[in-house]
Symmetry: C2
Subunit: 350 residues, 2 copies
């Protein structure tokens, strides 16, 4: 729908597993000294100077996590990497290596996998990580991508979900809700396309929110920014499931309560206008939209002067004693309990 | 077919992702000091005393890698762990942690996943590894399992595929070909079952080969044995795709040739008798059967006295200069070129 470039189709069947891995990863260079041995043995060998490492993994399934009728494969490869790196940065660690496993059915030609790996390579280059291994296999149905990401961190710098204390400030990076609204636009255009395949929609007024959905970025820059500002968050999590779901994780793990202010939640103008167009409340989207891959953190009040006025960091509330519960203070100054919904739940509803 | 215990069926839909992970992993204990933070944050945190780690990953897809009509889920969980640990041991490393991601369709009740995780837990206990993370998601069709395994190793002990030298001895652990023949028996019984579901086959004469297929073990014991014998192999690989495919990997990576002796290849009597019954050549099965998860290694000739007579280790040939090529010397003393086939290729043929 968005792009159609099936000029050439080379069947995977004649390549075999070993030929395929070699072919797809032949351009991947090694950037880190910590990568001693990459693809090509029973396992990769790594060696770290820092004393701790972090490990995270995600599984992406066609028609559950992505719809190839509007997600270009190159974007998908990029996003599959980024969503994992986001978890590494949420530990305040430096992402260094990933493994990528894919299962594909025979309906994918080699050129499709080359597009997918071009996206993986682009992300590896931009985020400065090595692709050190993986598995390539056949699937009876669609495309499956499994990524495991590894990062390095000094013990004293690790930030868990469990460190928030009463009176800490709640800080969110960037703006939220855009990815979910981008998805709504893409889903609508897919329906239009079904009725009229000749239709060439003008999506320029949605460019920001569609890019947030199709090609999200992980906040590596924020980890570097915090370091340069000499701010170590007391707790941190990445926003993959929506602000409400993530703040509940932080509060439960830290055994605290929270007050968030509706009027402080950073929204892009395109989110607001698209919410109006779709007749959806933008705060609901910000709370439950998900897939923003921004960071949600708490910082000590004494660090506030260091972040004050920084356009990447917005204070949206503060941590309370657990007994106070978890509330959103609306523009009308009402305190509404925060409930976990998450975008998966919304998907079934909307 | 082998077991049918669908007494209770709890739907996954009401549990949600977070509830499901918590429920399935609640019995998993942490055994290693290197596991600083396990399941429950954006990423796991690990800290190693040894200076290098190894990382490997595998993706298992229903109806490609396993058939639930005869593979009990508990065995499948066990095997999914073991096949990854085998790659860690093939680096001469000590397996310490795994992540496990699964995607399941709604046709699986909670009880099925509990069986799967019981197998994962059993393997984690026997092999002394920590389950430190993973992802649980829905699938539009079958069951998908992605495991990443991590091991620790001192730099001086790492064994790659690339270290074999001319005159080194080629050594294989245990016996090979059994897993593939076990699969043949199970496939045959599946066809019988389709015709007559009331049939209760007596599979006791195939017990060894069926167990090798359904519940293989990784050779952790061999890694410990080699250490106690003070033998460091010059190269090593695990046998997942068949002896011929693996020896070609070792030779290509080490830039050497090889001569293997047909009459030295260790076969279990049950493999020989079942091959006769199926009218298949047992050497063909040993060379191309796969899924044995034994180790194939090369050792320096001066280490031969240390391993001589050990029932776990069989010398099956020796490494030559590359120019000599790769050959199997048959019982009739003919030199036949070794060709990579691998069990996936066989699967399409047989």
């Amino acid at each position: 729908m968005i792009e159609d470039k099936n000029q050439q189709r080379t069947s995977l069947e004649n390549l075999g597993e070993f030929g395929l891995i070699e072919h797809l990863t032949k351009n991947f260079d090694i950037k880190h000294k910590s990568t001693i041995k990459s693809i090509g043995d029973d396992a990769a060998v790594l060696e770290f100077k820092t004393n701790q490492i972090v490990v995270t993994t995600d599984l992406l399934i066609e028609n559950v996590h992505f719809d190839l009728s509007y997600v270009p494969l190159k974007h998908l490869g990029y996003k599959a990497v980024v969503v994992n790196l986001s978890d590494v940065y949420a530990m305040n660690a430096n992402a260094t290596q990933i493994t990528v496993s894919i299962a594909v059915s025979n309906r994918f030609p080699l050129e499709a996998l080359e597009d997918l790996y071009a996206g993986i390579e682009a992300a590896a280059k931009i985020y400065n990580i090595d692709v050190i291994g993986g598995d390539t296999t056949s699937s009876t149905t669609g495309l499956i991508i499994s990524v495991t990401a590894i990062g390095a961190v000094d013990e004293k710098n690790v930030v868990l979900r469990s460190g928030a204390k009463a009176n800490d400030l709640v800080v969110v990076t960037g703006d939220i809700g855009a990815s979910y609204m981008g998805l709504q636009v893409l889903e609508r255009e897919k329906e239009v396309f079904k009725v009229n395949p000749q239709n060439q929609p003008d999506l320029s007024m949605y460019s920001y929110i569609i890019e947030r959905q199709l090609k999200p970025e992980a906040r590596k820059d924020v980890i570097e920014l915090l370091k340069s500002l000499d701010v170590k968050p007391t707790s941190m999590i990445d926003i993959s499931d929506g602000l409400s779901s993530e703040i509940i994780h932080l509060c439960k793990n830290s055994d605290v309560g929270v007050e968030l202010y509706e009027n402080k939640i950073p929204l892009d103008p395109q989110v607001i206008s698209t919410c109006e167009e779709f007749n959806i409340d933008s705060t609901t989207i910000a709370l439950n939209g998900g897939e923003d891959y921004e960071l949600l953190m708490t910082i000590s009040q004494e660090d506030f002067p260091k972040i004050k006025g920084n356009p990447n960091l917005t204070v949206i509330g503060y941590i309370t004693e657990k007994s106070r519960g978890m509330h959103l203070i609306t523009r009308g100054e009402q305190a509404i309990p925060i409930i976990a919904k998450g975008w998966n739940a919304m998907k079934n509803e909307v």
